[in-house]
Amino acid sequence: MSSNTPSSSAGGVGSADAAAPRRNSKRPKYSKFTQQELPACKPILTPRWVISAFLLVSIVFIPIGVVSLFASRDVVEIIDRYETACVPQNFSNDKVSFIQSAVDKTCNRTLTVKKLMKQPIYVYYQLDNFYQNHRRYVKSRSDSQLKDNSSWNDVSSCKPEDMSNDQPIVPCGLIAWSLFNDTYNFSLNNQQLAVNKKDISWKSDRDKKFGKDVFPKNFQNGTLIGGNRLDPSVPLSEQEDLIVWMRTAALPTFRKLYGKIERDLQPNEVIQVTLLNNYNTYSFNGKKKLVLSTTSWLGGKNDFLGIAYLTVGGLCFFLALSFTVVYLVKPRQLGDPSYLSWNRNPAGH
């Protein structure tokens, strides 16, 4: 069988074929694409690459962490929890009945400025344990009704606050119904401290989402009053408290912007707050807090991101170091064929 040269047979048959025209040949057209040979970059995790990647991450992350931490520390915040304190002694065992009663809800609080607070100072109310993201709650609204006067009776999604006295409610739904209705009045040295409640909501909401021709109608007319009432003569696009409230919070602990104080507050200044404690969070043990806070480029006071960045950056630095050590102690030559399994273990096949 030594004469078995593979090519000789092809010659015999091929000679006739070769003469035949090749136009209809099924030979696949050659292209880099069809042969899967497109130019490609093949990154490989070499030790140098890995160490520099870790170093790069730590170089980027640690400064960011430091900067964010500083930004967070620079924010001055005054938090005053008042929902328990504002309940008179005689109601302290039955707060729900207090809030449902017609008793005067006025409550006075005193806040002391610890550090210089540069304007603008944002006034928030903070609710805890209030599930604005509850499924029944978030669904209970009608965006088309809010936007457009013509669909004022589109309340199908608003149950159970869709109709009152057989009339559609505008704005309908649980969200609007439960609008927050505590009010705050600030005075500094017995002087009224102006709180600007303009432009506390998103401009896009005012322009597009809440109609200029939609006015509250039949609102809070039912047996159960959930929260604030709205002035029927003011269009929804200008009801900024409602607009803010309707941007439902993502988490059960949240702040909502109440207004802005547009002057600096000096250290040790004492602010008198007169608040109306109307909103019922007692039925579910919700906390209410009043927050005055400055802001930084990173938002409010929250150290988490800074710490996270420092941790990740530090970890990467540590990894870079340990990889360097490991690599120096026990290097492996890349692509060394002697590491291949069949070379390592000559007996195995």
């Binding site: 006739a16 696949p28 050659y30 069809t34 490609a40 988490l251 059960p252 988490f304």
Partner: protein, 1181 residues
């Protein structure tokens, strides 16, 4: 369904096969004591399908003609009377419809078919659940959209395919044929042809329906048809019209009669019927029918009567799709899917239990809770709003959580996998290295769902003839009257053109050149002057005449030169006729009555007085020639065993012995041998034979056996002229291919019908066997001796392979390398072993052997051997073959590969993949198989991860919403997540990523072991991925949560942050694992991230949605970007670290090869000249 026919076919002929093999036992046991030359394996000659098929059918007709066709099972066709024929039964018209749908039925039928898939049912159930008002988690549109998209895409694809089918049907139905109407042939559209009509076909026309031949232009009623459309065989087949009808048509007599034939069936090699004509009854067999789709060749016209039309024709009954198998990886994957479903149920249970606890603890507050408000006060009486009691609420919560977390079960994965497989198939088909020049055939992917199995093959079962060899027979040497002529040299170099003859100024030349022995050529040229010359003359005359070859004259570009192409069913015969032509005995013309042979430039006409066709019982054929000088001779050609038993005892013993010795040496060279004999017939002998032959060939009952008897009577007392050795060449690259497959850890078993010596010599030349190997040969002919030889063999193989056992204590399972053992076993022994308790022993033995060679195996035994292995291991098996006898094996194996070669297309039709050459198997397995496996394995893991991360992020959020299944991520984003945001990159990577390049994979076949060791997809990887998923989802969720805790953030904004974070994370995770970045990968990954941003922006620009403008508000803040960056880095660090450690300190082979590829390309580029597949032509662009 298509795939079943051949098997049935084989079952029907099984008794024949086993009886013949049993017969060979006796001859074997006799022969094995002395000389081991036994018989030429004639049954393995070229056209196996026809042979087996027609043989089977023949025996069927034989039995049926005695049985009668029952009237209930028959169809009655009135010849030339379609009205009466169709009166009682409405037979199908001849119009065909391959289109599945009409405009009306498209929608319901297509939907019905699509919903056969479990995945779609899951989609549907979830979508329906979501429509219940209590459970409406997503809006209507959002919940139906993914299903709608998938259905729409598939429907459009189906509609387009169906449209093309309809168009081709219309063309087909409107072709014209001439049909006898009122005694005149008229043109009629195909679709209007009815059963019973008489149709006339002209040369080169396609036959419009299945018809019984009535008459042809040949006075004896022969017609030649090409069945390439039917079974892919390009050679011509002869069909006969019955003598009773031939004359009627030619003499324009009105013909009338009744054909009683079987009901339409899909057996293209079988047909049985009776024809009543002029009160006579004539039986019809498969050689009397011409089938739709065939072409009439070499015959001026043929007339027939339509018996099956339209969808009842055999070709239409045979057209159905490829077999479907399920890949191993998918089977493994399904068990992980079950785990994921359990996980899904666990998540849903956690949510509902928590919800239950919460509802119970707050049950008193629920009525007035501003965010719950159980009571509806708007009506006069207070009633519960959307509250159905504690138990039901929990149940609803559970169902809702199933809806929300539905993509935990990665249904999109099934669709992506299909797309990826289509892409992989595209590249396999387009691979120029798997294109076969000689047959102009590309690689074919017939089964689309087992691409990745190609990367895990452990056993390859290969046929020999036509698979390892080319099945292009080439005449090598001859032994004539005891003289060996084997000094053949290729003529193409020595003489320009080989042999040719000139007639009327035209040059006739055989199409194929054969190398000739100069000495023999000289003797042949000198004519009959010497005694040698006389023998040589007779020998070549026998080769030229004793066959069923039909010569075709072909035009060449040169008008003077014509080529003679010999068409026939058997490649061996072709080779012999070409050889005879090269020695000056050129067959010019063959009709049923005579042959014209040009002998050394002189044309001689011989009358063909009789022809006994080959059958596998006699293993020989004969032809009776009337010479111009009125003498009559019978020429016989056949397998050595069958020939030596009918030779003249008084003949020169010496010549016989020398011939036998030559035969032995030929077969040990791997040549296929045939013995030729002749005898002169006296007038009385001839007359006796003639009358017997006439009687037998017109007999109605048992014609085949009568003819066989007549043949056996005349084929005796032969004078042996000599023997021929035909080489079946090894295909190009076979030894190298087998070598690489072996290095790759794949066990190659060769199963052949050839005899042992031929098989062993082919084994050596294909490097399957090496001189270092110890051969264990098992030839037994009883159960007991089988058991004994198996036990001895096991002991021996253990001894040989476990010498190292004492040293490495591993029990010798790995020790096969020390002394490789080859097991050679023959079909006779397998008869006793298969399906008995000895199977287990054989398997044990075979596991110890590095090579297994089975010779003389019948088709069903091939399947038996495959199933023997398949049953006992979890390893993947692949069967490769080219003929109908390999069909059962191909279907039995996990992966079936068909070689589209010389033999019919049955193997290809039954196969999952088809290709032109055996050596492409290396590219297919080592390159594409490896790639596909790696890609698919990664893709499945990635898809699990991708969907689980998203679901877990949703799940974490649910824990902060009183377990009420609110999603901060908008419903549209969660729907689009697996459709748009993340689907394209994984598909692109699944199609295009390559862990190693082709050259490396071919250079180190051992890298294929990655598939054997299941390196790319296993339980461990799955769990690691799931842990990683857990971490990543936690990071993606909790970093924003903590960063925004107690802040003013609203749900839509943080939802957008989570959406983007998860999508970027998931895409970068993929990017980290991509091995080869080309521009398409870049576009897919970065494009997906950009597309996600765009989609989120679009969703947030719709004022009626809750999240209006949220994305624009949040991107203005620095916190958003810091969160994004922190999430991506923190989430990917653990994976990165593990990956680096793993790659640096426990690198797998693939990893090292990758590094070598990158860093050593320059130094080793010179060393990689040893390419497996040399590119024959420089690639053209």
């Amino acid at each position: 369904m298509d795939s079943k026919i051949p098997v049935e076919n084989l079952f029907s002929i099984e008794p024949v096969l086993s009886s013949s093999s049993r017969r060979s036992i006796s001859t074997h046991s006799k022969a094995s004591s002395g000389n081991s030359i036994r018989e030429v394996n004639f049954s393995d000659l070229g056209s196996k399908p026809v042979r087996y098929g027609s043989h089977g059918a023949e025996s069927e007709t034989y039995s049926m003609s005695q049985k009668e066709i029952n009237d209930e099972d028959a169809r009655l066709v009135q010849i030339n009377d379609p009205v009466k024929t169709n009166e009682r039964f409405e037979f199908a018209g001849n119009s065909i419809r391959t289109g599945k749908y009409s405009i009306l039925t498209f929608l319901p039928r297509n939907l019905f078919e699509q919903f056969h898939r479990v995945a779609y049912i899951y989609f549907l159930v979830i979508a329906v659940l979501n429509q219940l008002p209590q459970l409406a988690v997503f809006g209507r549109g959002a919940s139906i959209m993914p299903l709608a998209i998938v259905l729409l895409v598939t429907a459009v694809k189906d509609a387009y395919e169906d449209y093309r089918r309809h168009r081709s049907d219309t063309i087909e139905n409107n072709r014209l044929a001439s049909v006898l109407v009122n005694d005149h042939f008229q043109q009629k559209k195909w679709k209007n042809i009815q059963v019973g009509e008489i149709i006339k076909i002209h040369a080169n026309e396609t036959i419009p329906c299945d018809m019984v031949l009535l008459s042809t232009s040949d006075p004896t009623g022969v017609a030649y048809v090409q069945t390439i459309n039917l079974d892919g065989e390009s050679n011509l087949k002869t069909r006969y019209a019955k003598q009773e009808t031939v004359l009627k048509i030619t003499e324009k007599e009105k013909i009338a009669g009744l054909i009683k034939c079987e009901k339409p069936n899909r057996n293209i090699y079988g047909f049985q019927a009776n024809m009543e004509i002029d009160g006579k009854r004539v039986s019809l067999g498969p050689s009397n029918i011409i089938l739709r789709g065939c072409e009439l060749k070499n015959t001026a016209w043929a007339v027939g009567v339509a018996v099956y039309a339209g969808r009842e024709t055999k070709v239409m009954l045979n057209s159905s799709g490829a077999p479907s198998k399920r890949s191993r990886l998918e089977t493994h994957m399904n068990s992980e899917i079950i785990f994921l479903s359990l996980f899904l149920i666990a998540l849903c249970t956690v949510v509902s239990v928590c919800a239950a606890v919460w509802l119970r603890r707050h049950r008193d507050e629920l009525d007035y809770l501003p965010f719950y408000r159980r009571k509806d006060f708007s009506e006069a009486e207070e009633e519960n709003y959307n509250y159905y009691g504690w138990g039901l609420e929990i149940f609803f919560t559970f169902l809702m959580s199933v809806i929300v977390f539905q993509i935990m079960i990665p249904i999109s994965l099934y669709i992506s996998m299909e797309l990826v497989r289509v892409g992989q198939a595209y590249f396999m088909i387009r691979d120029t290295q798997m294109y076969d020049e000689s047959s102009d055939s590309r690689f074919q992917c017939r089964a689309l769902n087992i691409n990745e199995d190609l990367g895990q093959i452990k056993y390859v079962f290969s046929d020999k003839t036509g698979t390892l060899t080319e099945n292009k027979m080439e005449f090598q040497c001859a032994s004539i009257w005891g003289v060996d002529y084997s000094g053949g040299k290729a003529t193409s170099q020595d003489q320009e053109d080989g042999y040719f003859v000139e007639v009327d100024g035209k040059v006739l030349r055989p199409k194929m050149k054969v190398k000739t022995d100069p000495e023999l050529l000289q003797i042949a040229k000198n004519g009959k002057e010497t005694k040698d010359g006389c023998h040589v003359h007779d020998f070549f005359l026998a080769l030229a005449a004793c066959n069923t070859i039909v010569p075709l004259i072909l035009d060449t570009p040169d008008p003077i030169v014509k080529l003679i192409d010999y068409q026939g069913e058997s490649p061996d015969e072709q080779a012999l006729v070409y050889a005879a032509a090269s020695y000056g005995f050129m067959l010019i013309e063959r009709t049923s009555g005579h042959v014209v042979i040009d002998i050394q430039g002189v044309r001689q006409r011989f009358n063909v007085l009789g022809l006994h066709e080959f059958d596998s019982d006699r293993k020989r054929m004969s032809v009776i020639l009337g010479f111009p000088d009125q003498s009559v001779k019978v020429f016989v050609k056949g397998a050595d065993t069958s020939m030596f038993s009918v030779m003249d005892r008084s003949m020169n013993i010496n010549v016989k012995r020398i011939t036998e010795a030559h035969l032995y040496s030929y077969s040990s060279l791997g040549l296929r041998t045939l013995v030729v004999g002749m005898r002169e017939l006296s007038t009385s002998e001839f007359d006796d034979w003639h009358s017997a032959f006439e009687a037998a060939s017109t007999a109605l009952m048992g014609r085949a056996s009568l003819l066989r008897k007549v043949a056996s009577n005349i084929e005796n007392n032969l004078c042996i002229l000599g023997a021929s050795g035909i080489e079946d060449k090894l295909q190009q690259g076979v030894p190298e291919a087998i070598e690489s497959l072996r290095t790759a850890g794949i066990k190659v078993w060769v199963l052949t019908g050839d005899k042992q010596e031929t098989a062993i010599s082919i084994g050596y030349s294909s490097k399957l066997l090496t001189s270092k190997m110890t051969q264990i040969i098992i030839n037994s002919n009883s159960m007991e001796s089988c058991r004994k030889s198996l036990e001895d063999a096991i002991i021996m193989s253990k001894k040989l392979t476990t010498i190292s056992g004492n040293i490495n204590n591993t029990g010798g399972t790995l020790g096969t390398v020390l002394t490789p053992v080859a097991l050679i076993i023959d079909g006779t022994s397998l008869v006793y072993i298969l399906d008995s308790e000895l199977e287990e022993r054989l398997f044990q033995l075979a596991c110890n052997c590095s090579v297994v060679l089975c010779c003389r195996v019948a088709p069903l035994q091939k399947a038996g051997i495959v199933s023997l292995v398949k049953k006992r291991t979890v390893d993947m098996t692949l069967a490769i073959g080219d003929g109908a006898n390999d069909v059962s094996m191909i279907q039995m194996a996990d992966v079936g590969v068909g070689i589209s070669g010389q033999e019919g297309r049955q193997a290809v039709m039954a196969s999952d993949f088809a290709m032109g050459q055996f050596r492409f198997l290396v590219t297919l397995l080592l390159v594409h198989g490896h790639w596909n496996y790696q890609r698919m394995g990664y893709m499945i893991l990635y898809n699990f991860y991708r969907n689980a991360v998203f679901v877990l992020v949703l799940f974490w959020y649910v824990l902060f919403t009183c377990f009420t299944l609110t999603t901060a991520i908008t419903e549209w984003s969660s729907v689009l997540y697996s459709v748009i945001y993340t689907s394209v990159p994984t598909i692109v990577v699944g199609i295009l990523d390559k862990d190693l390049n082709r050259r490396t994979l071919l250079k180190y076949p051992q890298l294929y072991g990655a598939g054997h060791r299941q390196e790319c997809y296993n339980k461990r990887l799955f769990w690691i991925t799931m842990i990683d998923t857990f971490w990543q989802s936690a990071v993606a969720f909790f970093i924003p949560l903590l960063a925004y805790w107690g802040g003013t953030i609203d749900a839509s904004s943080i939802g957008d942050l989570w959406t983007l974070a998860v999508v970027i994370l998931v895409n970068l995770h993929l990017a980290m694992d991509v091995i080869r970045w080309n521009w398409i990968t870049h576009v897919a990954i970065w494009g997906s991230i950009i597309a996600t941003f765009i989609c989120v922006i679009i969703i947030d620009a719709i004022p009626t949605l809750v999240g209006y403008w949220a994305i624009f508000e949040i991107v203005k803040t620095g916190k958003f970007w810091l969160c994004l960056l922190a999430i991506i880095v923190a989430a990917l660090i653990p994976r990165f670290v593990v990956k680096v450690l793993y790659q640096l300190y426990t690198p797998c082979d693939v990893q090292i090869a990758r590094e070598a590829e990158k860093f050593r390309t320059l130094s080793e580029s010179a060393a990689v000249e040893i390419e497996m597949n040399p590119i024959l032509d420089p690639p053209r662009r």
